[in-house]
Assembly symmetry: C2
Homo-oligomer: 407 residues x 2
DNA sequence: CTGAAAGCGCTAACAC
DNA sequence: GTGTTAGCGCTTTCAG
């Protein structure tokens, strides 16, 4: 039997014939311990199979080195991939990860924020589904939060978003470049997907910029961005007797449903219709025919989000962190290009006028918003004052494959 | 500002004008508290935005209500789905879930078991990748463990497995029933997949039982069960100049790669070759053509694993738990059908002799193994003695779709 | 039914 | 360099 129940530091101290504090010193890598003493302690630890009780440590230190992650649904490849990246980056940053699903219900999301889950974590990475811009005050908690995605639009938060508009813009433009002239978009009105307005905007701007007239009958709704909805969308297109030569899908699952249904109806991809998706999920390249898709670069999203959160936890200015330095403007710099202007609501299609050119560039863009210090800074030892909240936009790129090939 | 930093029970007690203990009583639903008192406390809690500090609670109680989950790779649909199910079932059981990736390295897996991660959890659900049967003693820790899958074969553990052999057996037999006579299997020798021998056995038995001669040149290896390997396998089949009319894939990812490559080479599915996969991953039905696949019923796997683990944590005999009652033989019953006889090693193809008929049935089967009490029972208040370890086999079923259709 | 005191395992002051 | 003490927020005796 290797491990007894609850081997404590005290047990180790006794076994090694030293004091409790010395054991603590060794365990925590305190430098000024005699080599002989250290060895004794280490041996005792080995013999007893001791490992620190992080619960006690957490209670005492007031921090746990655990990061909370709250995402809607792991079964969606997008979130599975995102989670995987976040867990990896957290691990690399020396933190553990604890998961609480969001998106179960509004109550559930509020409970994640305000319930006892919070006492387990030093900070939270949140991708809410039910909370909206109006709930901004619900985020006033005593630990730092980094939001991922467009949901819950408020400036007064650190946030990492992907280049939604630009991504779809390029996807659409690439279809035009390949000769498509009647291009449908599938996924309009997607429920609970805050990035839908940006994506629709990207589609429309691409058509405008390439001189193709908008035709709203080609903007096919899909409540749930899931394969069956993609199949249904094709049904709608056929029912209306519309001829299209290109279809932009707001995510890969829709695209798979679309391609499946096209095939069933004897339409060839890419010969008759070219299809492009969004997310570049792992299946996209192994789908038949392989699917061109917009890669949101979730690894960068994760790296940025974790770095940002860790900075806040440590009460450190994000711009002093390596992983963020290249991405965050210096505190002194005047306000940067503002990206993805705050949509007042998720009313989609109506106001297609803003969309600053900046969002069509291909590099990290950051905007500084708000001015309140991070709450974390208030109780961190670090006197370093923390500047305003930050929104990082991670560039996405189009990956071209068979489904948009020219033959 | 809703929440101040660290509102404590003491704060609530002062605010409500009662003692600390009374607050504790209210929070923990102790029955004998005057209604008026309870109301005062509840009001104070609301006003202050108090929620219990589960870290302190854990330290004091010696248990955290957190279940550890350690799986290899969330990007594989199989594990994403499994994780999602586990998290849902844990939630339903009133426990939180904390994740630590396994499969990073052997050291990492040992660290999950013996490192400080353990002090955060009451019990662990583990699907190891590097630890093998020889490491059985590494599982001697002071908290209960439930293993999922075939990896790390040892009787002296609670374990939930799926009906691997039977699943592939039926998949193969269904191809035969549809007229296939030269049936390949893809995925032989899959590295780090302990269920591979069972699956290969299922394939072979199905051929034997239907009177088709084995041809080992049709058993195509694939180290990694991933799309590219599936594509490669088709390459191998072609290179050898072999004609096949059916392909059994050891998982869906392989099947997708196979179908992709077949298509590229102008082979029609299901007309020329029928293909069947394993896992019934969410994409299987939206792949084109939709993929017949074996559904391992991960929701049942998760439900069983969580129920089993919770029983051990609570020091309760699993057979007294509702979710398990129908599945676990009564402690008094003599030893049940033994399922999936313990393979002495993962040497795959060599000993295809055992495989009891039981594993081809379609219902839950349980074997009792070992006799040691759960360690958990030793320090649980419950005097109820815990019986030997249990292996639950969850039945899987074949879902037939387009890729095996007869035309 | 309610209050006071002890202690879960650890770290941070401060002695020695 | 090392030992001693107090206390993180909570539950649990044990009195009242």
């Amino acid at each position: 039997m290797a491990a007894q129940r609850h081997v404590t530091m005290n047990d180790v101290a006794k076994r090694a014939g030293v004091s409790l504090k010395t054991v603590s010193n060794v365990v925590n890598g305190y430098r000024f311990v005699r080599d002989a003493t250290r060895r004794k302690v280490l041996d005792a630890i080995d013999e007893l199979g001791y490992s620190v009780n992080v619960v006690a440590k957490s209670l005492r230190e007031g921090r746990s080195n655990v990061i909370g992650i709250s995402l809607p649904d792991m079964r969606l490849p997008y979130f599975a991939e995102l989670y995987s990246c976040l867990a990896g980056e957290a691990r690399a940053a020396g933190r553990r990860v604890i998961f609480a699903p969001s998106g179960v219900s509004r109550t559930n999301e509020l409970d994640v924020l305000h319930g006892s889950f919070a006492s387990l974590i030093d900070g939270l990475i949140l991708s809410p589904k039910y909370l909206t811009g109006g709930d901004a005050d619900k985020l006033n908690v005593d630990y730092p939060i980094v939001l991922i995605g467009e949901q819950m639009r408020t400036n007064a938060r650190d946030r990492v978003i992907t280049e939604n508009e630009h991504g779809i813009y390029r996807a659409t433009a690439s279809l035009v470049a390949k000769g498509c002239r009647r291009i449908a978009v599938v996924g309009v009105g997607g429920k609970g997907v805050a990035s839908e307005p940006m994506r629709l905007r990207g589609y429309r701007h691409a058509l405008e910029d390439t001189g193709i007239a908008l035709d709203t009958s080609l903007e096919i709704p899909a409540d749930i961005w899931y394969q069956p909805a993609g199949a249904d969308a094709v049904g709608v297109l056929f029912r209306d007797g519309l001829r299209v030569d290109g279809i932009v899908c707001m995510n890969d699952l829709l695209a798979m449903g679309v391609m499946q249904e096209l095939r069933r109806r004897g339409v060839l991809v890419p010969d008759d219709v070219k299809v492009v998706g969004y997310d570049d999920s792992i299946d996209a390249q192994y789908f038949a025919p392989s699917l061109s898709s917009v890669d949101p670069d979730l690894r960068s999203v994760a790296r940025t989000a974790i770095a940002l959160l860790c900075a806040r936890i440590d009460g450190v200015d994000p711009s002093s962190i390596d992983a963020l330095r290249s991405v965050i403007p210096s505190p002194n710099a005047s306000s940067q290009t503002t990206v993805s202007s705050v949509a007042p609501s998720v009313t989609a299609a109506s106001e297609s006028s803003e969309s600053p050119a900046a969002s069509r560039t291909g590099s990290y863009v950051v905007s500084r918003t708000g001015s309140s210090r991070s709450d974390a800074a208030a109780n961190s030892g670090t006197p370093e004052s923390v500047t305003g909240y930050v929104t990082v936009t991670v560039p996405s790129k189009l990956v071209e494959r068979e489904s948009t090939a020219v033959r």
